[in-house]
């Protein structure tokens, strides 16, 4: 998130807007005698590893085993609820990415009910991906998932109404965290297109499809493009099926994928499989960790030989300054505006 505030004269100095607390954006105020502080939040559709490290430190949501388990619990809730509602993979995927993004920018302390947040993410995802479902339908499906043998919940239940209210509040928080930026790309269509182009056959494509689904449980979608993730998944699928991977492993540029990115995504995915195999779609088919571990050794070897620098984080312009944790009450103190990128903010400022 990148925002800046400059309260105009007349507004209380101790208004709570701390100038410099956020990155620069630009300011706008209502053209009237009454001035009030306006903040602009600029969307960050992608984050670098360094950004993520900075945010994690601020949020103090430690990445310990307990937190990881609760995260996977949330993913399972999203997936099982979503399957009940017959959502396509892109909806489930978006929900999981939104969930991870949420707890990068918000602390667990302020939003301790991880399940509620997960369902709110599913709600937002269902709207984003044009697979609309009413809130109550989602909540009822979630209830059925959590109480498979339990009594059916009544449509008028007070518990449901209470949950619905909470979901609406959380939905808003999720939307603000993502800066209302609905530009999302998914790797799955690219898996099909690339596999067809390389004539790799449907078996490898299907395995890569599953791996892409697992990729949503990592931070890869926040750090890399969808087509890069697709290619990396195809590679892992190829190795697991003992296929010839030479067709693309050395020509990632043909698919507009940076080789270094590609290798890093492979590592990220392998880490998921090595550390959390039972939580993935490959657990039953590839229960043995050896293949994943030897893949990891290979990739690390390749990376250490290549010229790829361990990218030093350098900011060339404002937007790349370190992101900050959200103050979720800030909307109460003034007007928050959400802008897709700094270009637009600059254009607006010049018009005012």
């Amino acid at each position: 998130m990148a925002t800046r505030s400059t309260p105009k004269s007349g507004s209380p100095a101790g208004s709570g807007f701390v100038s410099g607390a956020y990155d620069s954006g630009s300011i706008g105020t209502a053209p009237s005698s009454v001035t009030f502080p306006t903040l602009i939040q600029i969307s960050r559709p992608y984050l670098s590893a360094e950004h993520i490290a900075i945010l994690s430190q601020q949020a103090n949501n430690s990445n310990g085993v307990r937190e990881s388990q609760s995260r996977f619990h949330a993913f399972a809730l999203i997936i099982n609820t979503g399957n009940q509602l017959r959502f396509p993979v892109r909806t489930l995927g978006s929900a999981m990415v939104l969930f991870q993004q949420f707890y990068l920018f918000n602390s667990l302390q302020n939003f301790s009910s991880v399940s509620d947040t997960a369902l709110a993410c599913l709600l937002v995802a269902s709207k984003m991906e044009d697979t609309l479902k009413k809130i109550k339908d989602i909540l009822i499906a979630a209830y059925n998932v959590r109480h498979p043998n339990g009594p059916e919940i009544s449509l008028d239940s007070q518990v449901l109404d209470e949950q619905r209210r909470r979901s609406l509040f959380l939905e808003r928080q999720v939307l603000e965290t993502m800066s209302f930026d609905f530009r999302v790309k998914h790797p799955h269509p690219y898996v099909i297109k690339f596999c067809r182009k390389l004539t790799l056959g449907s078996e490898q494509a299907q395995l890569a499809w599953l791996i892409c689904f697992d990729s949503y449980k990592t931070l890869a979608p926040l750090k890399h493009t969808a087509h890069a993730i697709a290619l990396a998944s195809i590679y892992i699928a190829g190795v697991l099926l003992d296929r010839d991977i030479s067709g693309y492993a050395n020509n990632t540029a043909d698919f507009l994928v940076d080789l270094h990115d590609y290798e890093n995504i492979i590592l990220e995915l392998l880490e998921l499989y090595i550390d959390w195999l039972p939580q993935t779609t490959l657990a039953s088919r590839f229960p043995d960790l050896d293949k994943f571990m030897s893949m990891r050794i290979e990739v690390n070897k390749r990376l250490s030989h290549s010229n790829g620098s361990d990218n030093q984080f350098e900011s060339k312009n404002d937007i790349l300054k370190a992101p900050k944790i959200r103050d979720f009450t800030i909307g109460d103190k003034g007007t928050m505006r959400y802008v897709l990128d700094s270009e637009r903010a600059k254009v607006e400022e010049s018009l005012l």
Binding site: Y46, L47, R86, R196, K197, W209
Partner: protein, 217 residues
């Protein structure tokens, strides 16, 4: 409150007459039919009668209602309504797209409706194919020359109902059909996704540029 056959028929016909394109009205009808499923034959004959008597526009609403009725029947495991719908499928459609001026307006909707019936496993694929063929033949039969006389009110009502149906469709068209969800979706995508092309490369370039803005190398 148990009703005798006569009262039930009256009440049900009344509900059928109030049917519009909304899910609520259809659900209300369906719930009544399920509640009095002991009288299923009587209630079903009301449906058939109403199809004969009511306007062309309203017949479409009844057709869409059958989908909700079928769905609910399957859910509670009550086969009678579904059996009767399958048995009389063409007879029912025949009334929705009769050889009358103005019926052409119903053809596209009828096609969608039977498609939905098959997707919800109310009718089989084979039945769908057979009846689709007959629909095509019927379409050719209906004269395109005669301009039908719909009142302005009818036209506006129909437009509203089409809008409502379209909204409903958007809520369901993405639903992954029965079976192992991920498998089914993959197979569908494998068949239908377009080949890698210019526009894909443009998209990928755009994404790469977007990434560059936020993640410096």
């Amino acid at each position: 409150m148990p009703l005798d056959a006569f009262e039930a028929r009256l009440a049900f016909t009344d509900l059928l007459r109030r049917l519009n394109a909304s899910v609520q009205s259809a659900t209300k009808c369906a719930q009544f039919a399920i509640r009095y499923k002991d009288l299923s034959e009587d209630l079903y004959s009301c449906i058939v009668e109403e199809l004969e008597l009511t306007s062309l526009n309203s017949r479409v609403n009844i057709l869409y209602f059958l989908e909700i009725l079928g769905e609910n029947s399957i859910r509670i495991g009550f086969p009678d309504y579904v059996d009767m719908i399958r048995r009389d499928l063409w007879e029912l459609l025949d009334k929705v797209v009769p050889v009358l001026p103005g019926a052409l307006a119903n053809i596209a909707l009828a096609r969608k409706a039977i498609d939905n019936l098959q997707r919800k496993t109310i009718i089989t694929e084979e039945e769908l194919h057979r009846v689709t063929k007959r629909l095509e033949e019927r379409e050719a039969q209906i004269s395109k020359d005669e301009i039908s006389s719909f009142s302005r009110g009818d036209i506006l009502k129909r437009m509203d109902e089409d809008r409502e149906r379209h909204k409903r469709m958007r809520e369901n068209i993405w639903v992954i059909p029965q079976g192992d969800a991920i498998q089914v979706e993959f197979e569908n995508a494998w068949e239908t996704t377009s080949d890698l092309g210019e526009d894909d490369y443009d998209s990928m370039k755009e994404e790469n540029n977007l990434l560059k803005q936020y993640v410096l190398k």
